[in-house]
């Protein structure tokens, strides 16, 4: 990965987005946690709260430890109807770059498929990211999932 020139950064970021989507669609939660720095933030927040300045998020995880707690919840404690999710993520749009920190965004759509049911649109929104370039590759300092979807279809178990 050559992150010294703009094209290299862009490609690396696109690669991160593609890898992230593949991991959450494959329910590879350890890999999901691995995309984040220790000191990180992951929020899934309704667009309404984001735009009106209300701090509440549907999920608000503020460290890699808390991401691991969510993984434990998904694997061991949360009862839910089984489902697959499938992410379609748009191309990254770089908003700013300062040293090894990139601010970027991308649109996403998540489809949900329940067993014996049709596939439905589950959650649609925009990732708003701060990504750090590290020797091990790109890692999220923060990932905000700001969703347009007005009503969560019952529950949201897996990360977006």
């Amino acid at each position: 990965m050559n992150t010294n020139d703009d094209t290299g950064v862009y490609l690396a970021l696109a690669g991160l987005y593609a890898d992230y989507a593949a991991a959450v669609d494959a329910q590879d939660w350890e890999r999901w946690v691995g995309f984040f720095l220790d000191d990180c933030e992951y929020r899934v927040q309704p667009r309404e709260n984001h735009e009106r300045g209300f701090p509440l998020a549907t999920l608000a995880l503020i460290s890699r430890g808390m991401l691991k707690d969510r993984v434990y919840g998904i694997k061991e404690t949360l009862f839910h109807d089984p489902y697959y999710q499938r992410h379609v993520v748009g191309l990254p749009r770089i908003l700013r770059r300062e040293g090894d920190l990139i601010e970027a965004e991308a649109n996403y759509a998540v489809f949900r498929t329940k067993l014996s049911k049709e596939t439905t649109v589950f959650n649609v929104g925009r990732y708003l990211d701060r990504v750090r370039i590290t020797p091990e590759g790109l890692r999220f300092a923060s990932r905000l999932c700001i969703y347009d979807t007005e009503m969560i279809p019952n529950s949201l178990i897996y990360p977006i």
Partner: protein, 423 residues
């Protein structure tokens, strides 16, 4: 062959006259029954939750919401009072307000520009006196047309502790009488006059009958079983010091609990598959509980105010949960998390992080929506059958423990009184 049951009963059949412990599935599946519930429980004789005063702090601020399945607008008047009016124009019935919040000096219905004061009074009708053409007045409303007779439907409003209730029934008893002294006491504990600050919303659509959410928060049986988090960390388990309290009519309830030690194995965790002795939180901020003076002892008070709302205090997380039915098989569940004006930034942050336990993704609330959905599936396929709510017996009484389904029986005792009234 004669013992094959009729699958689709005409109306709910209760097995017992005395006890409401066996709840016919058809109370969750029947369309006619649902309309009657809207009529008798949401539109008549009851106060419904519409919002918090803090959502409309300034004159002209409004919020669109619902009472039952009817769209209404809560708006703050120029004089500071709160009005609730129905979102249907008196002219041609259009639902004129589509924004969910905002600020207005008046309401204008875009189709024919009738305009209303913020209290719902009709103030202007275009071409009311006709249009002058070639020295003649053409058209216009008949001269006996009176604007006073064509206002928006105004609801009766009650505000207490910053919480706004409304009723289409102007003959409804006072909010205080409606809640009764015991429930009012718990209401006032949470809404004790401090100004509230809005932290934000969560909205989810749950494909199940609306009553199931009332029952969920009248059911202290499940949290210590379904919700691993509650059991393991002692937030809610069968051996916690607790109380179940209803109003005199058994429609509202409070489940009051004081957090125990958690962790250690005991009778109530033995054989409970959701209990995880080895479970350890990596980031302790998820459960960084700091007692607050106003709690006065209990660490959790979950209040169900029938039929429309749940008031939640679970340690430092406080919210209102608005039940908005949409037909017999679904409801929207709107969470408004809030804090208090004197909260430190640390307390606000604590409330926001503890909110991870609640809402559509919550460690302990996501599964409630899931079990409600799957219950509805069961009811739909077997509407002649009934649920059994007999933990703790058949009666409806307050208890000082939570190993009982008394509150559910109480709610259905009341439900039957109202729904089976021949009037």
């Amino acid at each position: 062959m004669g013992d094959t049951p009729v699958v689709f009963p005409i109306r709910p059949v209760w097995e017992s006259k005395e006890s409401s412990s066996r709840i016919p599935f058809s109370v969750y599946t029947d369309e006619e029954n649902h309309k009657r519930e809207l009529e008798r429980l949401f539109y008549k004789g009851h106060w419904c939750y519409v919002g918090l005063e803090a959502e409309v702090p300034n004159a002209g601020d409004f919020k669109r919401t619902v009472v039952g399945e009817r769209s209404v607008i809560m708006v703050r008047d120029a004089d500071g009072g709160i009005n609730v009016v129905e979102n249907v124009c008196a002219h041609r019935g259009m639902q004129f307000c589509r924004e969910r919040h905002g600020n207005r000096k008046e309401f204008v219905y875009p189709y024919h520009q009738w305009n209303y004061k913020l209290n719902g009074d009709l103030q202007g009708v275009p071409f009311r006196r006709g249009v002058k053409q070639d020295g003649k007045v053409q058209g216009g409303m008949p001269k006996e047309f009176r604007t006073e007779e064509h206002g928006l439907t105004k609801l009766k409003v009650a505000v207490r502790g910053g919480v706004v209730f409304a009723s289409f029934d102007h003959a409804v008893e006072s909010l205080e009488d409606f809640l009764g002294p015991d429930i009012l006491g718990y209401f006032d504990r949470l809404f004790n006059g401090r100004k509230l600050t809005i932290l934000g919303y969560n909205r989810q659509r749950i494909p199940g009958n609306w009553k199931l959410m009332q029952e969920n928060i009248k059911d202290p049986y499940h949290p210590g079983l379904l919700h691993t988090w509650f059991v393991t960390y002692g937030l809610w388990r069968a051996d916690n010091k607790s109380q179940l309290v209803m109003d005199a009519q058994h429609r509202h309830a409070a489940m009051i609990s004081t957090r125990g030690s958690g962790g250690a194995r005991s009778e109530v965790t033995a054989g409970v598959t959701s209990f995880k002795e080895s479970m350890e939180i990596q980031d302790k901020r998820l459960l960084d509980i700091v007692p607050e003076d106003w709690w006065g002892g209990p660490t959790a008070v979950m209040m169900t105010v029938f039929p429309s709302v749940i008031f939640q205090q679970q340690v430092n997380s406080v919210s209102t949960r608005h039940i908005q039915p949409d037909g017999k098989g679904a409801f929207d569940f709107v969470w408004t998390h809030f804090g208090f004006e004197d909260d430190t930034p640390e307390m606000t942050q604590r409330r926001l992080i503890q909110a991870n336990l609640f809402g559509p993704a919550g460690f302990v609330s996501a599964d409630d929506g899931e079990v409600i959905e799957l219950s509805q599936y069961g009811f739909e396929q077997k509407p002649f059958h009934r649920a059994v709510a007999e933990l703790g017996g058949y009666g409806e009484e307050n208890t000082d423990h939570m190993v009982t389904e008394t509150l559910i029986r109480g709610m259905y005792g009341y439900w039957r009184k109202v729904m089976e009234d021949p009037a």
